[in-house]
Protein backbone atom coordinates (compact mmCIF):
# COMPACT_ATOMS: atom_id res chain seq x y z
CA UNK A 1 0.00 0.00 0.00
CA UNK A 2 1.45 3.34 -1.02
CA UNK A 3 1.06 6.23 1.34
CA UNK A 4 0.80 9.63 -0.24
CA UNK A 5 0.19 11.81 2.79
CA UNK A 6 3.64 13.35 2.73
CA UNK A 7 3.20 14.52 -0.84
CA UNK A 8 0.06 16.61 -0.65
CA UNK A 9 -2.60 17.62 1.82
CA UNK A 10 -5.74 15.53 1.81
CA UNK A 11 -8.55 17.24 -0.09
CA UNK A 12 -11.60 18.51 1.69
CA UNK A 13 -13.98 15.60 1.33
CA UNK A 14 -17.53 16.56 0.64
CA UNK A 15 -20.21 14.83 2.64
CA UNK A 16 -22.79 15.18 -0.18
CA UNK A 17 -22.84 12.58 -2.93
CA UNK A 18 -20.14 13.47 -5.39
CA UNK A 19 -16.79 12.41 -6.66
CA UNK A 20 -14.81 12.60 -3.42
CA UNK A 21 -17.59 11.38 -1.12
CA UNK A 22 -16.15 8.67 1.09
CA UNK A 23 -12.55 9.13 0.06
CA UNK A 24 -9.94 8.48 2.74
CA UNK A 25 -8.89 11.47 4.79
CA UNK A 26 -5.53 10.03 5.69
CA UNK A 27 -4.05 10.38 2.22
CA UNK A 28 -3.66 6.62 1.78
CA UNK A 29 -4.52 5.19 -1.63
CA UNK A 30 -7.76 3.21 -1.71
CA UNK A 31 -7.06 -0.39 -2.65
CA UNK A 32 -9.37 -2.62 -4.67
CA UNK A 33 -11.20 -3.97 -1.62
CA UNK A 34 -11.84 -0.52 -0.20
CA UNK A 35 -12.92 0.67 -3.63
CA UNK A 36 -15.47 -2.14 -3.95
CA UNK A 37 -16.69 -1.50 -0.41
CA UNK A 38 -17.29 2.17 -1.24
CA UNK A 39 -18.72 1.93 -4.75
CA UNK A 40 -19.80 -1.67 -5.21
CA UNK A 41 -19.03 -3.73 -8.31
CA UNK A 42 -19.23 -2.28 -11.80
CA UNK A 43 -22.13 -4.52 -12.85
CA UNK A 44 -21.06 -4.52 -16.45
CA UNK A 45 -20.61 -7.55 -18.62
CA UNK A 46 -17.10 -8.61 -19.44
CA UNK A 47 -17.84 -8.49 -23.12
CA UNK A 48 -17.02 -5.18 -24.73
CA UNK A 49 -19.79 -4.61 -27.29
CA UNK A 50 -18.56 -4.18 -30.85
CA UNK A 51 -19.38 -0.67 -32.00
CA UNK A 52 -19.70 0.52 -28.44
CA UNK A 53 -22.49 0.82 -25.91
CA UNK A 54 -24.95 3.43 -27.17
CA UNK A 55 -26.98 3.43 -23.97
CA UNK A 56 -23.88 4.39 -22.00
CA UNK A 57 -22.98 7.15 -24.46
CA UNK A 58 -26.53 8.40 -24.12
CA UNK A 59 -26.31 8.37 -20.32
CA UNK A 60 -23.17 10.52 -20.56
CA UNK A 61 -25.03 12.87 -22.92
CA UNK A 62 -27.97 13.15 -20.54
CA UNK A 63 -25.61 13.77 -17.64
CA UNK A 64 -24.08 16.67 -19.55
CA UNK A 65 -20.54 15.62 -18.66
CA UNK A 66 -17.82 17.85 -20.10
CA UNK A 67 -14.09 17.26 -20.20
CA UNK A 68 -12.23 18.22 -17.03
CA UNK A 69 -8.87 18.50 -18.80
CA UNK A 70 -9.50 22.16 -19.46
CA UNK A 71 -11.42 22.28 -22.74
CA UNK A 72 -14.86 21.47 -21.22
CA UNK A 73 -15.83 19.73 -24.44
CA UNK A 74 -18.96 17.52 -24.30
CA UNK A 75 -17.68 14.04 -23.48
CA UNK A 76 -20.47 12.17 -25.28
CA UNK A 77 -19.55 13.82 -28.61
CA UNK A 78 -16.04 12.45 -28.39
CA UNK A 79 -17.30 9.03 -27.29
CA UNK A 80 -19.69 8.88 -30.24
CA UNK A 81 -17.03 9.97 -32.71
CA UNK A 82 -14.55 7.33 -31.52
CA UNK A 83 -17.23 4.62 -31.59
CA UNK A 84 -18.31 5.65 -35.10
CA UNK A 85 -14.75 5.49 -36.44
CA UNK A 86 -14.16 1.92 -35.34
CA UNK A 87 -13.52 -0.86 -37.81
CA UNK A 88 -12.21 -4.41 -37.63
CA UNK A 89 -8.76 -3.31 -38.74
CA UNK A 90 -8.80 -0.17 -36.59
CA UNK A 91 -10.30 -0.99 -33.20
CA UNK A 92 -10.63 1.99 -30.86
CA UNK A 93 -8.30 2.57 -27.93
CA UNK A 94 -8.73 4.59 -24.74
CA UNK A 95 -6.00 6.91 -23.46
CA UNK A 96 -6.49 8.27 -19.96
CA UNK A 97 -4.70 11.57 -19.52
CA UNK A 98 -3.29 11.85 -15.99
CA UNK A 99 -0.32 14.02 -16.89
CA UNK A 100 -1.57 17.31 -15.48
CA UNK A 101 1.12 19.44 -17.10
CA UNK A 102 0.13 22.73 -15.48
CA UNK A 103 1.98 23.28 -12.16
CA UNK A 104 -1.01 25.29 -10.90
CA UNK A 105 -3.10 22.11 -10.86
CA UNK A 106 -2.86 19.18 -8.50
CA UNK A 107 -6.33 17.71 -8.80
CA UNK A 108 -5.49 14.78 -11.06
CA UNK A 109 -2.58 13.86 -8.80
CA UNK A 110 -4.89 13.80 -5.79
CA UNK A 111 -7.55 11.85 -7.66
CA UNK A 112 -5.10 9.21 -8.88
CA UNK A 113 -3.35 9.08 -5.53
CA UNK A 114 -6.53 8.50 -3.54
CA UNK A 115 -8.92 6.72 -5.90
CA UNK A 116 -6.99 5.12 -8.77
CA UNK A 117 -9.61 2.39 -9.13
CA UNK A 118 -12.33 4.93 -9.82
CA UNK A 119 -10.27 6.14 -12.79
CA UNK A 120 -9.63 2.56 -13.89
CA UNK A 121 -13.38 1.89 -13.66
CA UNK A 122 -13.93 4.98 -15.79
CA UNK A 123 -11.44 3.66 -18.34
CA UNK A 124 -13.34 0.36 -18.53
CA UNK A 125 -16.71 2.09 -18.86
CA UNK A 126 -15.32 4.44 -21.52
CA UNK A 127 -13.91 1.42 -23.35
CA UNK A 128 -17.38 -0.15 -23.28
CA UNK A 129 -18.92 3.06 -24.56
CA UNK A 130 -16.62 3.22 -27.61
CA UNK A 131 -16.03 -0.52 -28.12
CA UNK A 132 -12.34 -0.43 -27.20
CA UNK A 133 -10.53 -3.53 -25.99
CA UNK A 134 -7.42 -1.91 -24.61
CA UNK A 135 -6.34 1.25 -22.84
CA UNK A 136 -3.30 3.24 -21.76
CA UNK A 137 -3.09 5.55 -18.77
CA UNK A 138 -0.50 8.29 -19.13
CA UNK A 139 1.16 9.84 -16.09
CA UNK A 140 4.33 11.82 -15.56
CA UNK A 141 7.50 9.88 -15.18
CA UNK A 142 9.75 10.53 -12.19
CA UNK A 143 6.96 10.59 -9.67
CA UNK A 144 5.30 7.80 -7.77
CA UNK A 145 2.02 7.89 -9.69
CA UNK A 146 3.05 5.19 -12.16
CA UNK A 147 3.78 2.85 -9.22
CA UNK A 148 0.41 3.61 -7.63
CA UNK A 149 -1.33 2.80 -10.89
CA UNK A 150 0.63 -0.35 -11.69
CA UNK A 151 -0.22 -1.63 -8.23
CA UNK A 152 -3.89 -0.82 -8.81
CA UNK A 153 -3.93 -2.50 -12.22
CA UNK A 154 -2.34 -5.60 -10.66
CA UNK A 155 -4.99 -5.69 -7.94
CA UNK A 156 -7.71 -5.97 -10.59
CA UNK A 157 -6.27 -8.98 -12.40
CA UNK A 158 -8.44 -12.10 -12.39
CA UNK A 159 -5.69 -14.12 -10.72
CA UNK A 160 -5.76 -11.75 -7.79
CA UNK A 161 -8.42 -11.34 -5.19
CA UNK A 162 -11.17 -10.15 -7.51
CA UNK A 163 -14.57 -11.37 -6.33
CA UNK A 164 -16.84 -12.91 -8.95
CA UNK A 165 -18.97 -10.37 -10.74
CA UNK A 166 -16.70 -7.51 -9.83
CA UNK A 167 -16.67 -6.23 -13.38
CA UNK A 168 -14.70 -6.86 -16.52
CA UNK A 169 -11.58 -7.66 -14.53
CA UNK A 170 -8.40 -8.19 -16.42
CA UNK A 171 -9.14 -5.40 -18.88
CA UNK A 172 -5.72 -4.56 -20.27
CA UNK A 173 -4.56 -1.15 -19.07
CA UNK A 174 -0.97 -0.18 -19.73
CA UNK A 175 0.73 2.52 -17.68
CA UNK A 176 2.80 4.92 -19.81
CA UNK A 177 5.23 7.39 -18.28
CA UNK A 178 5.40 10.70 -20.12
CA UNK A 179 8.09 13.41 -19.71
CA UNK A 180 7.18 16.05 -17.15
CA UNK A 181 6.73 18.98 -19.55
CA UNK A 182 3.90 21.48 -19.85
CA UNK A 183 2.77 20.65 -23.38
CA UNK A 184 3.34 16.90 -22.99
CA UNK A 185 -0.17 16.63 -21.55
CA UNK A 186 -1.86 17.93 -24.72
CA UNK A 187 -3.99 15.12 -26.18
CA UNK A 188 -2.04 15.00 -29.45
CA UNK A 189 1.24 14.96 -27.48
CA UNK A 190 0.14 11.74 -25.80
CA UNK A 191 -0.82 10.20 -29.15
CA UNK A 192 2.54 11.29 -30.58
CA UNK A 193 4.36 9.91 -27.54
CA UNK A 194 2.62 6.55 -27.71
CA UNK A 195 3.33 6.31 -31.44
CA UNK A 196 6.86 7.69 -31.65
CA UNK A 197 8.18 8.36 -28.15
CA UNK A 198 8.11 12.13 -28.75
CA UNK A 199 5.75 13.93 -26.33
CA UNK A 200 5.15 17.02 -28.48
CA UNK A 201 1.83 18.19 -29.92
CA UNK A 202 0.76 17.20 -33.43
CA UNK A 203 -1.28 19.13 -35.96
CA UNK A 204 -4.94 19.55 -34.94
CA UNK A 205 -6.11 17.57 -37.94
CA UNK A 206 -6.87 14.67 -37.83
CA UNK A 207 -8.14 14.65 -34.29
CA UNK A 208 -7.11 11.71 -32.07
CA UNK A 209 -10.74 10.58 -32.07
CA UNK A 210 -10.43 10.11 -35.83
CA UNK A 211 -6.88 8.83 -36.09
CA UNK A 212 -4.69 8.50 -33.02
CA UNK A 213 -2.63 5.70 -31.51
CA UNK A 214 -1.51 3.34 -34.30
CA UNK A 215 -3.89 5.20 -36.60
CA UNK A 216 -6.86 3.97 -34.59
CA UNK A 217 -9.80 6.03 -33.31
CA UNK A 218 -8.50 7.15 -29.92
CA UNK A 219 -10.45 8.44 -26.96
CA UNK A 220 -8.19 10.78 -24.99
CA UNK A 221 -9.96 11.81 -21.81
CA UNK A 222 -8.76 13.46 -18.65
CA UNK A 223 -8.67 11.13 -15.63
CA UNK A 224 -11.19 13.24 -13.68
CA UNK A 225 -13.59 13.07 -16.63
CA UNK A 226 -13.25 9.29 -16.56
CA UNK A 227 -13.86 9.16 -12.81
CA UNK A 228 -17.11 11.12 -13.26
CA UNK A 229 -18.01 8.78 -16.12
CA UNK A 230 -17.55 5.78 -13.81
CA UNK A 231 -20.06 7.24 -11.36
CA UNK A 232 -22.52 8.24 -14.08
CA UNK A 233 -22.39 4.66 -15.38
CA UNK A 234 -23.09 3.37 -11.87
CA UNK A 235 -25.59 5.92 -10.59
CA UNK A 236 -27.18 7.36 -13.72
CA UNK A 237 -27.28 10.85 -15.21
CA UNK A 238 -29.86 12.10 -12.72
CA UNK A 239 -27.49 11.42 -9.83
CA UNK A 240 -24.79 13.44 -11.58
CA UNK A 241 -27.11 16.34 -12.37
CA UNK A 242 -28.16 16.63 -8.72
CA UNK A 243 -25.00 18.71 -8.26
CA UNK A 244 -23.95 21.78 -10.22
CA UNK A 245 -26.33 23.79 -12.38
CA UNK A 246 -28.66 23.03 -15.25
CA UNK A 247 -26.15 24.37 -17.79
CA UNK A 248 -23.05 23.12 -15.98
CA UNK A 249 -24.05 19.94 -14.20
CA UNK A 250 -21.95 17.98 -11.76
CA UNK A 251 -19.05 18.71 -9.50
CA UNK A 252 -15.42 19.43 -10.27
CA UNK A 253 -12.14 19.08 -8.48
CA UNK A 254 -10.39 22.42 -8.18
CA UNK A 255 -6.89 23.24 -6.99
CA UNK A 256 -6.57 26.24 -4.70
CA UNK A 257 -3.03 27.47 -4.23
CA UNK A 258 -1.10 30.53 -3.15
CA UNK A 259 -1.93 32.67 -0.11
CA UNK A 260 -4.76 30.62 1.37
CA UNK A 261 -4.65 28.96 4.78
CA UNK A 262 -5.19 25.41 3.48
CA UNK A 263 -3.94 25.08 -0.10
CA UNK A 264 -5.14 21.91 -1.73
CA UNK A 265 -7.73 20.26 -3.88
CA UNK A 266 -11.45 20.77 -3.22
CA UNK A 267 -14.61 19.46 -4.79
CA UNK A 268 -17.12 22.12 -5.78
CA UNK A 269 -20.45 22.25 -7.52
CA UNK A 270 -19.98 23.74 -10.96
CA UNK A 271 -21.56 27.18 -10.85
CA UNK A 272 -20.36 27.90 -7.31
CA UNK A 273 -19.19 31.47 -6.76
CA UNK A 274 -15.47 31.96 -7.28
CA UNK A 275 -15.05 32.91 -3.64
CA UNK A 276 -16.37 29.58 -2.39
CA UNK A 277 -13.31 27.38 -3.00
CA UNK A 278 -11.20 30.17 -1.49
CA UNK A 279 -13.35 29.97 1.64
CA UNK A 280 -13.15 26.17 1.61
CA UNK A 281 -9.38 26.61 1.61
CA UNK A 282 -9.64 28.58 4.83
CA UNK A 283 -9.76 32.00 3.23
CA UNK A 284 -6.89 34.09 2.02
CA UNK A 285 -3.99 34.90 4.24
CA UNK A 286 -4.17 38.69 4.13
CA UNK A 287 -5.66 40.96 1.47
CA UNK A 288 -5.53 39.89 -2.17
CA UNK A 289 -6.03 41.92 -5.33
CA UNK A 290 -6.59 39.37 -8.09
CA UNK A 291 -6.83 35.66 -8.76
CA UNK A 292 -5.27 33.57 -11.49
CA UNK A 293 -8.02 31.33 -12.87
CA UNK A 294 -7.50 28.26 -15.05
CA UNK A 295 -3.84 27.46 -14.59
CA UNK A 296 -0.67 29.26 -15.65
CA UNK A 297 -2.07 29.60 -19.16
CA UNK A 298 -5.24 31.07 -17.63
CA UNK A 299 -6.42 34.61 -16.93
CA UNK A 300 -6.30 37.13 -14.09
CA UNK A 301 -9.55 38.34 -12.60
CA UNK A 302 -9.72 41.21 -10.09
CA UNK A 303 -10.67 40.50 -6.49
CA UNK A 304 -12.88 41.18 -4.64
CA UNK A 305 -14.78 42.47 -7.71
CA UNK A 306 -15.09 39.01 -9.29
CA UNK A 307 -15.68 37.03 -6.10
CA UNK A 308 -19.21 36.11 -7.10
CA UNK A 309 -18.66 35.07 -10.70
CA UNK A 310 -19.96 31.52 -11.23
CA UNK A 311 -17.34 28.82 -11.75
CA UNK A 312 -18.46 27.49 -15.11
CA UNK A 313 -16.55 27.86 -18.35
CA UNK A 314 -19.24 29.96 -20.10
CA UNK A 315 -19.67 32.30 -17.10
CA UNK A 316 -15.93 32.78 -16.76
CA UNK A 317 -15.61 33.44 -20.49
CA UNK A 318 -18.25 36.12 -20.16
CA UNK A 319 -16.11 37.62 -17.39
CA UNK A 320 -12.99 37.57 -19.57
CA UNK A 321 -11.45 34.37 -18.21
CA UNK A 322 -12.01 30.65 -18.68
CA UNK A 323 -12.29 27.77 -16.28
CA UNK A 324 -9.64 25.76 -18.11
CA UNK A 325 -7.84 23.38 -15.81
CA UNK A 326 -9.77 24.25 -12.66
CA UNK A 327 -7.31 26.14 -10.48
CA UNK A 328 -7.35 29.33 -8.42
CA UNK A 329 -4.28 31.17 -7.20
CA UNK A 330 -4.94 34.52 -5.53
CA UNK A 331 -2.31 37.26 -5.67
CA UNK A 332 -1.51 39.01 -2.38
CA UNK A 333 -2.28 42.73 -2.46
CA UNK A 334 1.34 43.76 -1.97
CA UNK A 335 2.65 41.66 -4.85
CA UNK A 336 3.29 42.96 -8.36
CA UNK A 337 0.91 41.39 -10.89
CA UNK A 338 3.01 42.50 -13.85
CA UNK A 339 6.29 41.08 -12.55
CA UNK A 340 4.50 37.88 -11.55
CA UNK A 341 2.97 37.60 -15.01
CA UNK A 342 6.38 38.22 -16.60
CA UNK A 343 7.86 35.30 -14.67
CA UNK A 344 4.98 33.02 -15.67
CA UNK A 345 5.36 34.09 -19.31
CA UNK A 346 9.05 33.23 -19.14
CA UNK A 347 8.15 29.78 -17.83
CA UNK A 348 5.53 29.27 -20.57
CA UNK A 349 8.03 30.41 -23.22
CA UNK A 350 10.57 27.90 -21.92
CA UNK A 351 7.90 25.19 -22.02
CA UNK A 352 7.11 25.76 -25.70
CA UNK A 353 7.74 22.63 -27.73
CA UNK A 354 9.49 24.89 -30.24
CA UNK A 355 7.54 23.56 -33.19
CA UNK A 356 5.33 26.46 -34.28
CA UNK A 357 6.84 29.87 -35.10
CA UNK A 358 4.30 32.11 -33.36
CA UNK A 359 4.87 30.14 -30.13
CA UNK A 360 8.62 29.57 -30.49
CA UNK A 361 9.36 33.26 -31.18
CA UNK A 362 6.23 34.97 -29.91
CA UNK A 363 6.28 33.70 -26.34
CA UNK A 364 9.86 34.79 -25.55
CA UNK A 365 9.04 38.15 -27.17
CA UNK A 366 6.01 38.82 -25.00
CA UNK A 367 7.88 37.57 -21.92
CA UNK A 368 10.63 40.13 -22.71
CA UNK A 369 8.05 42.88 -23.20
CA UNK A 370 6.31 42.10 -19.91
CA UNK A 371 9.66 41.95 -18.10
CA UNK A 372 10.59 45.41 -19.38
CA UNK A 373 7.22 46.77 -18.31
CA UNK A 374 7.64 45.19 -14.88
CA UNK A 375 11.18 46.57 -14.54
CA UNK A 376 10.06 50.06 -15.48
CA UNK A 377 12.40 50.04 -18.49
CA UNK A 378 9.79 49.92 -21.28
CA UNK A 379 10.45 52.19 -24.25
CA UNK A 380 7.55 54.43 -25.38
CA UNK A 381 6.29 52.15 -28.16
CA UNK A 382 6.61 48.92 -26.23
CA UNK A 383 3.06 48.63 -24.95
CA UNK A 384 1.62 49.04 -28.45
CA UNK A 385 4.04 46.47 -29.78
CA UNK A 386 3.05 44.05 -27.02
CA UNK A 387 -0.66 44.50 -27.76
CA UNK A 388 -0.08 43.87 -31.46
CA UNK A 389 1.94 40.75 -30.64
CA UNK A 390 -0.85 39.54 -28.38
CA UNK A 391 -3.20 40.01 -31.31
CA UNK A 392 -1.28 37.82 -33.75
CA UNK A 393 -0.11 34.96 -31.53
CA UNK A 394 -3.38 33.19 -30.64
CA UNK A 395 -4.82 30.50 -32.88
CA UNK A 396 -1.65 29.93 -34.86
CA UNK A 397 -0.09 26.99 -33.04
CA UNK A 398 -0.77 23.28 -33.25
CA UNK A 399 -1.99 23.39 -29.65
CA UNK A 400 -3.48 26.05 -27.38
CA UNK A 401 -0.23 26.76 -25.49
CA UNK A 402 0.50 30.10 -27.22
CA UNK A 403 -3.16 31.13 -26.85
CA UNK A 404 -2.96 30.61 -23.09
CA UNK A 405 0.21 32.66 -22.74
CA UNK A 406 -1.14 35.52 -24.85
CA UNK A 407 -4.42 35.50 -22.94
CA UNK A 408 -2.60 35.60 -19.61
CA UNK A 409 -0.53 38.59 -20.74
CA UNK A 410 -3.57 40.48 -22.04
CA UNK A 411 -5.51 39.87 -18.83
CA UNK A 412 -2.56 41.17 -16.78
CA UNK A 413 -2.47 44.41 -18.78
CA UNK A 414 -6.18 44.89 -18.13
CA UNK A 415 -6.48 43.74 -14.52
CA UNK A 416 -3.31 45.53 -13.40
CA UNK A 417 -4.01 48.62 -15.52
CA UNK A 418 -3.28 51.07 -12.70
CA UNK A 419 0.09 49.50 -11.96
CA UNK A 420 0.76 49.46 -15.68
CA UNK A 421 0.61 53.25 -15.85
CA UNK A 422 3.09 53.58 -13.00
CA UNK A 423 5.44 51.01 -14.48
CA UNK A 424 5.31 52.67 -17.90
CA UNK A 425 6.07 56.01 -16.25
CA UNK A 426 9.27 54.44 -14.93
CA UNK A 427 8.07 54.14 -11.36
CA UNK A 428 7.50 50.41 -10.81
CA UNK A 429 6.14 49.21 -7.50
CA UNK A 430 8.41 47.97 -4.76
CA UNK A 431 7.58 44.32 -5.44
CA UNK A 432 8.56 44.49 -9.12
CA UNK A 433 11.92 42.79 -8.56
CA UNK A 434 10.38 39.96 -6.60
CA UNK A 435 7.63 38.18 -8.54
CA UNK A 436 5.19 36.08 -6.56
CA UNK A 437 6.31 32.48 -7.07
CA UNK A 438 3.38 30.97 -8.97
CA UNK A 439 5.45 28.40 -10.82
CA UNK A 440 5.89 25.33 -8.68
CA UNK A 441 2.81 26.05 -6.61
CA UNK A 442 0.80 24.83 -4.87
Amino acid sequence: MTTIESTWPAPAITTRPGLSHGWPRDGVTMGWDEHLALYGPMRASRRIPRGGDRALVDAVRQAGLRGRGGAWFPTHVKLAEVAAGASRSRPPIVVANGCEGDPASNKDHVLLGLAPHLVLDGIEFAARAVGATEAVICVHRDDMMADVLREAVDQRRPSGTVPAGAGPAGFPVRVAEVPDRYVASVDTSLVNFLNTGVARPLARDPRPSQRGVDGRPTLVDNVETLAHLALIARNGPGWFRARGTEDAPGTALITVGGPVRMPGVYEIDLGSPLGQPLRMAGGTDGPVRAVLVGGLGGRWLPLPAMGNVALTDPCLRAAGARLGIASLIPLPAHECGLATTASVLRYLADESAGQCGPCMFGLPAIADDMTRIADGTASPGLLNRLWSRLGVIPGRGACAHPDGAAGLAASALEVFAEDLSAHLAGTPCGAANDPYPLVGRP
Binding site: G85, P201, P358, R389
Partner: protein, 86 residues
Protein backbone atom coordinates in the same frame (compact mmCIF):
# COMPACT_ATOMS: atom_id res chain seq x y z
CA UNK B 1 -27.51 16.90 -64.70
CA UNK B 2 -26.42 19.11 -61.81
CA UNK B 3 -26.87 18.39 -58.19
CA UNK B 4 -27.40 21.66 -56.34
CA UNK B 5 -25.62 20.25 -53.29
CA UNK B 6 -22.46 19.97 -55.33
CA UNK B 7 -22.79 23.30 -57.07
CA UNK B 8 -19.41 25.01 -56.76
CA UNK B 9 -21.18 28.13 -55.52
CA UNK B 10 -22.07 26.40 -52.29
CA UNK B 11 -18.46 25.63 -51.52
CA UNK B 12 -15.75 28.00 -50.43
CA UNK B 13 -12.01 27.64 -50.60
CA UNK B 14 -9.98 28.82 -47.65
CA UNK B 15 -6.30 29.04 -46.82
CA UNK B 16 -4.77 27.06 -43.99
CA UNK B 17 -1.24 26.81 -42.65
CA UNK B 18 -0.01 23.67 -40.94
CA UNK B 19 1.81 25.43 -38.09
CA UNK B 20 4.34 22.69 -37.32
CA UNK B 21 5.28 22.27 -40.98
CA UNK B 22 5.70 26.00 -41.67
CA UNK B 23 9.34 27.08 -41.48
CA UNK B 24 8.84 30.71 -42.42
CA UNK B 25 10.24 30.59 -45.93
CA UNK B 26 7.84 33.41 -46.76
CA UNK B 27 7.30 32.45 -50.38
CA UNK B 28 3.53 32.37 -49.90
CA UNK B 29 3.42 36.05 -48.96
CA UNK B 30 5.44 36.94 -52.04
CA UNK B 31 3.17 35.01 -54.35
CA UNK B 32 -0.14 35.89 -52.71
CA UNK B 33 0.30 39.29 -51.02
CA UNK B 34 -3.42 39.92 -51.48
CA UNK B 35 -4.15 37.37 -48.78
CA UNK B 36 -0.93 36.62 -46.91
CA UNK B 37 1.36 38.91 -44.95
CA UNK B 38 4.19 37.92 -42.62
CA UNK B 39 4.48 38.56 -38.91
CA UNK B 40 7.66 40.01 -37.45
CA UNK B 41 9.17 36.52 -37.23
CA UNK B 42 8.44 35.70 -40.86
CA UNK B 43 5.45 33.44 -40.33
CA UNK B 44 2.33 33.89 -42.47
CA UNK B 45 -0.74 35.79 -41.33
CA UNK B 46 -3.70 34.74 -43.43
CA UNK B 47 -6.56 36.92 -44.54
CA UNK B 48 -9.66 35.27 -43.14
CA UNK B 49 -12.59 34.30 -45.28
CA UNK B 50 -12.86 32.56 -48.63
CA UNK B 51 -10.32 32.88 -51.41
CA UNK B 52 -12.00 34.96 -54.14
CA UNK B 53 -12.42 33.07 -57.44
CA UNK B 54 -9.96 35.30 -59.29
CA UNK B 55 -7.22 34.40 -56.76
CA UNK B 56 -7.78 30.66 -56.64
CA UNK B 57 -5.18 29.87 -59.25
CA UNK B 58 -2.57 32.13 -57.60
CA UNK B 59 -3.37 30.57 -54.23
CA UNK B 60 -2.86 27.12 -55.71
CA UNK B 61 0.51 28.21 -57.06
CA UNK B 62 1.49 29.62 -53.68
CA UNK B 63 0.54 26.36 -51.97
CA UNK B 64 2.50 24.34 -54.51
CA UNK B 65 5.54 26.62 -54.08
CA UNK B 66 5.72 26.17 -50.28
CA UNK B 67 8.95 24.22 -49.65
CA UNK B 68 7.40 22.39 -46.70
CA UNK B 69 3.91 22.13 -48.24
CA UNK B 70 2.57 23.84 -45.12
CA UNK B 71 0.15 26.09 -47.03
CA UNK B 72 -3.05 24.34 -47.96
CA UNK B 73 -6.26 25.20 -49.73
CA UNK B 74 -9.22 23.58 -48.11
CA UNK B 75 -12.61 23.44 -49.75
CA UNK B 76 -15.58 23.45 -47.50
CA UNK B 77 -19.26 23.82 -48.07
CA UNK B 78 -22.63 23.26 -46.43
CA UNK B 79 -22.58 19.51 -47.06
CA UNK B 80 -19.31 19.11 -45.21
CA UNK B 81 -20.01 21.11 -42.10
CA UNK B 82 -20.73 18.17 -39.89
CA UNK B 83 -17.96 16.20 -38.24
CA UNK B 84 -20.07 13.10 -38.01
CA UNK B 85 -20.07 10.34 -40.51
CA UNK B 86 -23.35 9.60 -42.26
Amino acid sequence: MTNPRHDSNTRVTQLRVAPIDCHAHGICAELLPEMISLDEWGYPLLEGGPVPPELIRTAQRAAAACPTLALKLVRSGPERHTHHRP
